[in-house]
Amino acid sequence: MAAVASCGSGAGSTGSAVATASKSNVTSFQKRGPRASGTNDSGPRLVSIAGTRPSVRNGQLLVSTGLPALDQLLGGGLAIGTVLLIEEDKYNIYSPLLFKCFLAEGIVNGHTLLVASAKEDPANILQELPAPLLDDNSKKEFDEDVYNHKTPESNIKMKIAWRYQLLPKMEIGPVSSRFGHYYDASKRIPQELIEASNWHGFFLPEKISSTLKVEPCSLTPGYIKLLQFIQNIISEEGFDGSNPQKKQRNVLRIGIQNLGSPLWGDDICCAENVSNSHSLTKFLYVLRGLLRTSLSACIITMPTHLIQNKAIIARVTNLSDIVIGLESFIGSERETNPLYKDYHGLIHIRQIPRLNNLICDESDVKDLAFKLKRKLFTIEAEVQKGVSRATFLLDGPRKKLFPCLFQLLEVACIPWLMASSSIFKASNIGLSPSYVTNSEFFSASLFHF
């Protein structure tokens, strides 16, 4: 009975759990955040900038990437001073959306933007940013959009696994209005928000004349100009602390589009053995140095599917902090695969940084898929091969994780399996870890005796 009571209290508290506490903590010790800077003696002064918050893991200052689902997968957000690299999908449809959400988040929070592109004019990019869903009316819209295709079977009250029926179906609820917003991909951002924001644009064809000579073993001229531009903005506007008179500190959000494509003057996409293969890697190295010494965060989209030399991709991955790959199903054979019919593509999180830490804060869910609904871009864990063996017993929706697992038990009516608490030690958030192995265990145990 005592074991049951403790499980109960664990399940009860999950309903109110904050989404960032994701790991299975065996300890109840929580790191307290730094105290508010009321006193001027001990303790570091808390830098309170709009749109940022300290990480619960290591106190690093985080900014939102514009997609709350992505924030959660990255352990709370993008740390200031780091680079988020997005490997573009093949037809470049979904990566511009992530890029624009990042910039729109900066505008909504009042951060300064720096947009660099060789393909489109930055002013045109800013015109096409998605509109934020800010007030409660839009939150209702978001909820109904999310639960639009909730099937009736998901409302079945469970008899055996009744403790888990209160767990939230979606892992991300509505966010606080200060960190992380939802964006409506079908509407444009209001013009007055753009005009009220402070932004700098770098459009390569305007800044460079095409007859510059490139010395070997150095950066291509486009990259040199971009680095100089970024450095000027950082020092002029005091993001690196060089302007101590400024009272209100702000964050600089840098967005670089299609880095490494031939339009930047870099020929890593054109040939396998390039003469100047270190240009991009040097650029990333210098850029990271600039970012680490200033209050800025950077998003870069790169067409890695065009890069011919795989060693360059590996180097670029090592030089970036967070690397996310988008793989869309358009044109591939996965488009017709019934497992993927609800989604538009897969998201691969290839790298997460270890900032002031020995381990990185990786999410336990590795099979992630995204879909662009009518208005929103959502990321969900896709229910994949491990559970498909057991799905013929279920009529329930295949999208949701733990109800699926427990409906399996309900149908099979094997209550003695519930008692083995080693499998169902309800951790803080529930059973997202190793759901695949659990279900394989059950399917194995059900059908082998």
Binding site: A5, G8, G12, I93, S210, L263, C270, A271, E272, C413
Partner: protein, 300 residues
């Protein structure tokens, strides 16, 4: 859709190969746009001017503006009619024109340009040319620019071909079967899914385009494409289905850890940390509620 390729503007990439050549399609598209009244500029690098103009009637030949880079590509003869800057200079000069109206530029061929110029320079120039109509700031409203590029994909590795196709708005890959040519058209619109379509066609001797249906598909011994979904519950050695009576019996089964509903609700409701803990006791079916001490019966 093949006849409306040029209406979208931007870079149209014609990828051909040795078996299915693309110059006749290029000439057919050039003829079509000349007949529509657009300005047509040809950058001839791979074949001579006479060979390119062969097959066009004089009406169309008068409308084509031909820039010849075949006879003297490196400008060794130093005549004054040579254009400065080579083919790219000619491209930029075409775009700096002041008269409005749609322009079609045919590059014959992009392969020649790729072999003589660095790929990045070519990509940048093509991007500047094909996106000129979208950038404001010029005083004169410039018309739509379509660039038709002929690319022999067997001459290049995947790098340059991939780079050019990522820049292209429309990509036409020529293929065919049994003597009939087909064009696989992939259309990339800026923020939408790419659409693709296969169109069978043939080019008539006067370089007009004749769209056709595909060749008749002969009956092949292929497997039935519609496989009915496999029901995994058949052919099992045990029964997975429940009859109605069995379902009712299962629903009325008392589970060993079944609690009363009040205890269930109390456990479900999140309690904000209590000092005391509650003990819920429901007597089981086998519980004896007799208050007597059974040890009293012992006769010691």
């Amino acid at each position: 859709m093949l006849d409306s390729l040029l209406s979208l503007g931007g870079l149209v990439l014609l990828r051909d190969s040795v078996e299915w050549e693309g110059r006749s399609l290029l000439k057919a598209l050039v003829k079509k746009s000349a007949l529509c009244g657009e300005q047509v500029h040809i950058l001839g690098c791979e074949v001579s001017e006479e060979e390119f103009r062969e097959g066009f009637d004089s009406d169309i030949n008068n409308r084509l503006v031909y820039h010849d880079f075949f006879r003297d590509p490196l400008n060794w003869s130093k005549t004054e009619e040579a254009l400065p800057g080579g083919p790219l200079g000619a491209l930029r000069a075409i775009c700096k024109r002041t008269d409005p109206g749609p322009v079609t530029i045919a590059l014959d061929s992009l392969s020649w340009l790729l072999l003589h110029l660095p790929c990045t320079t070519l990509c940048q120039a093509l991007h500047a040319v094909s996106h000129q109509d979208s950038c404001p700031g010029d005083s004169s409203p410039v018309g739509k620019v379509s660039v038709l590029g002929l690319l022999h994909e067997e001459l290049h590795g995947p790098g340059p071909v991939g780079a050019l196709s990522s820049l292209a708005q429309t990509e036409v890959t020529l293929g065919g079967r049994k003597g009939q040519a087909s064009a696989h058209i992939l259309c990339r619109r800026p923020r939408q899914r790419p659409t693709d379509q296969t169109q069978w066609f043939s080019i008539l001797p006067d370089f007009s385009l004749d769209l056709q249906e595909g060749p008749s598909v002969e009956s092949q011994p292929c497997s039935d494409p519609h496989i009915p979904p496999v029901d995994p519950t058949t052919h099992l050695t045990f029964n997975l289905h429940l009859s109605k009576k069995e379902r009712e019996a299962r629903d009325s089964l008392i589970l060993p850890f079944q609690f009363s509903s009040e205890k269930q609700q109390a456990l479900l409701r999140p309690r904000p940390g209590q000092a005391t803990s509650h003990i819920f006791y429901e007597p089981d079916a086998y519980d004896d509620l007799d208050q007597e001490d059974p040890d009293d019966d012992l006769d010691i």
